[in-house]
């Protein structure tokens, strides 16, 4: 089974996000594999281990993304395509999906995985956009999957508010991974050593038969007007006393002052 995982490099969730001159200041950031993509990669590897096949990574982004591609190959993925072109910069989920689709048309797949969203822009669109552009069905927020023996369909569970939905889907399809799907592995030393022997192919705008007006800020359908830091919260107060005393005082404040209970 050929499984493609679309991965994104994002700032570490432990990072403080600094807004400077209306832009995110990237200078102090540590970059990691998007957490939801980690679940996607892990599940793809588990499917490969069970059924055989190949796991291919596709990632769009500047040169720094290469580190994340390598560390993800170290987990056991077989090959990677790095979609890198200055024209891709300042894009949005729509242009990202467009570029990924252009690459996916050149790569064989039976199943495509994405994280359900990137923890940077928090859009949660790209996976579903690309499913539609490829005319494939999709299942989002996947927390469990079972592919039929013939590889032509799957029964998938997706997380919804207060429970799960059980979805029957034909393959090929796009699945977007939710936390809870699995426990991702760490790279082994052997895995890290093996990266050197794996192919990472870089594809530019031209390689993908795209034109500059389709991608980047020109092709984007979203325009970011401004970015700011969230408002600081008003300073609160510390209640003191014995547990019964503070409990009584807190309940009084919540009821009479804050009026939330």
């Amino acid at each position: 089974m050929n499984i493609v995982v679309c991965i994104k490099q994002v700032p570490d969730t432990a990072s403080k996000i600094v807004v400077r001159d209306g832009q995110i200041d990237e200078s102090g950031l540590t970059w990691i594999l998007n957490p939801y993509d980690e679940y996607a990669v892990e599940e793809a590897l588990r499917i490969k281990e069970k059924r055989g096949g190949k796991v291919t990574l596709v990632s769009l982004g500047p040169s720094r993304v290469l580190d994340t591609i390598k560390s993800t190959l170290a987990l056991g993925a077989d090959e990677a395509f790095h979609l890198n072109d200055p024209a891709f910069e300042q894009g949005d989920p729509y242009t990202t999906a467009l570029v990924l689709v252009a690459a996916l048309r050149k790569i064989p797949y039976d199943l495509i995985w994405c994280g359900w969203k990137g923890v940077d822009g928090d859009y949660g669109l790209t996976g579903i956009y690309l499913a539609d552009m490829l005319d494939l069905p999709h299942v989002s927020f996947v927390v469990k999957q079972e592919i039929a023996a013939d590889g032509k369909s799957a029964v998938v569970e997706k997380e919804i508010e207060g429970g799960r939905e059980q979805v029957e889907v034909s393959l090929p399809a796009v699945f977007t991974a939710q936390k809870g799907l699995n426990e991702p592995r760490y790279a082994s030393l052997k895995g890290i050593m093996a990266v050197k022997r794996k192919t990472i192919l870089e594809w530019s705008l031209k390689d993908l038969d795209l034109t500059p007006d389709q991608v980047g800020s020109i092709g984007a359908l979203t325009e970011v007007v401004n970015i700011s830091s969230p408002q600081a919260r008003q300073e609160g107060r510390i209640l003191t006393g014995s547990p019964p005393e503070v409990a009584a005082e807190l309940v009084r404040l919540l009821h009479e002052e804050a009026k939330v209970i």
Binding site: T13, P35, P93, A97, V224, V225, L250, V251
Partner: protein
């Protein structure tokens, strides 16, 4: 293009989701500024009864797609109904609730229409005749304002932001039944699986009692559940508690969990790592209970209690019960 705003009502298991009414309220406010009206689409099987709810909540017109072909949810079939209606009526915008349903459907509809989506919005304004969407990014560590260059302008709106409009009976608005002619979906929801004990989801709760590493073990979530039950709220958790396997991920609040904005958030034994803060900092009132007075969570707290949660939380539960007279 009209100046109308189309609301897609979410109906699950024969219930209209509260967020659909909130979104209708948002649509009404924005449509007024655009010089249009808010119209609603009710779609599903056996959903005719919900038309009145949308009507009473303020929809100027309700479209009804009631068909056995929509008995099981499938993003592609539901998309066909929505896209057909959009092409016939040309609304200025389409709003969905930012739920598993809205976030599954909106991008599929948008892709068909070659349109952008402002997801998980916490505010919408009108500027020069276009919508200006406020969206938190990095789970709220930064806030953006975005415009969409495409039409219709599609957004999903976070629950608990807009108030539910006052229901008004006796309104008599046009109802238009839509013919449903759809291809069968290739990804179809066959069943809804629920945990044995049905719990309120943190994303939908107005009060959340959350626990972290300070709880020391899974069994101690029972103490939080008692408080949450007394308050009529949901139980949340930090990533530390979820990653330790103490509670399922559905409860996680934070950057890799849910972003919540309840009226009251009670953080018990949670230190307040940035990725957790990101998920809950917009809560109206935050209570922090933690042994360590240096915990960053106290910087966000409206009310802080430095103490042992194992003593404070049960005392709180008792006080809340006293208040509610039970």
């Amino acid at each position: 293009m009209s100046n109308d705003i189309l609301i897609v009502a979410e109906i699950r298991e024969n219930n209209l989701k509260k967020v659909s009414l909130e979104v209708l309220g948002a649509g009404q406010e924005i449509a007024r500024k655009l010089g249009g009206t808010v119209v609603a689409l009710v779609l599903g099987n056996g959903v005719t009864g919900f038309v009145a709810e949308m009507e009473q909540a303020g929809a100027a017109k309700v479209f009804l797609a009631d068909s056995p072909a929509l008995a099981e949810y499938s993003p592609t079939t539901f998309t066909q109904v929505i896209v057909k209606l959009v092409k016939e009526t040309n609304p200025a915008a389409i709003f969905f609730g930012s739920t598993a349903y809205g976030r599954d459907l909106a991008p599929r509809v948008a892709a068909r229409l070659k349109a952008g989506v402002a997801s998980d919005c916490t505010g919408i304004e009108v500027a020069d005749g276009r919508l200006l969407f406020t969206r938190p990014i990095y789970a709220g560590k930064a806030i953006t304002q975005v415009k969409l260059k495409s039409d219709p302008q599609i957004a999903t709106i976070r629950p608990n932001i807009y108030p539910i409009p006052q229901a008004e009976t006796g309104r008599n608005v046009p109802i238009e039944k839509l013919e449903v002619n759809v291809f069968p979906g290739q990804a179809v929801t066959k069943a809804i699986l629920k945990p044995e004990t049905q719990e309120l989801d943190v994303a939908e709760a107005d009060i959340i009692v959350s626990g972290g590493r300070g709880l020391k073990g899974p069994e101690n979530f029972a103490i939080l559940r008692e408080l949450a039950d007394a308050l009529g709220g949901a139980v949340g958790a930090s990533r530390a508690a979820v990653d330790a396997g103490w509670i399922p991920h559905a409860h996680q609040v934070g950057q890799t969990g849910k972003t919540v904005n309840p009226s009251l958030y009670v953080a018990c034994g949670i230190s307040g790592a940035v990725q957790h803060q990101a998920g809950m900092r917009t809560s109206r009132v935050i209570v922090a209970i933690n042994k360590d007075p240096e915990s960053p969570i106290f910087k966000l707290a409206t009310y802080g209690i430095v103490g042992d949660l194992f003593e404070v939380v049960p005392a709180l539960t008792a006080e809340v019960k006293k208040l509610h007279g039970s």
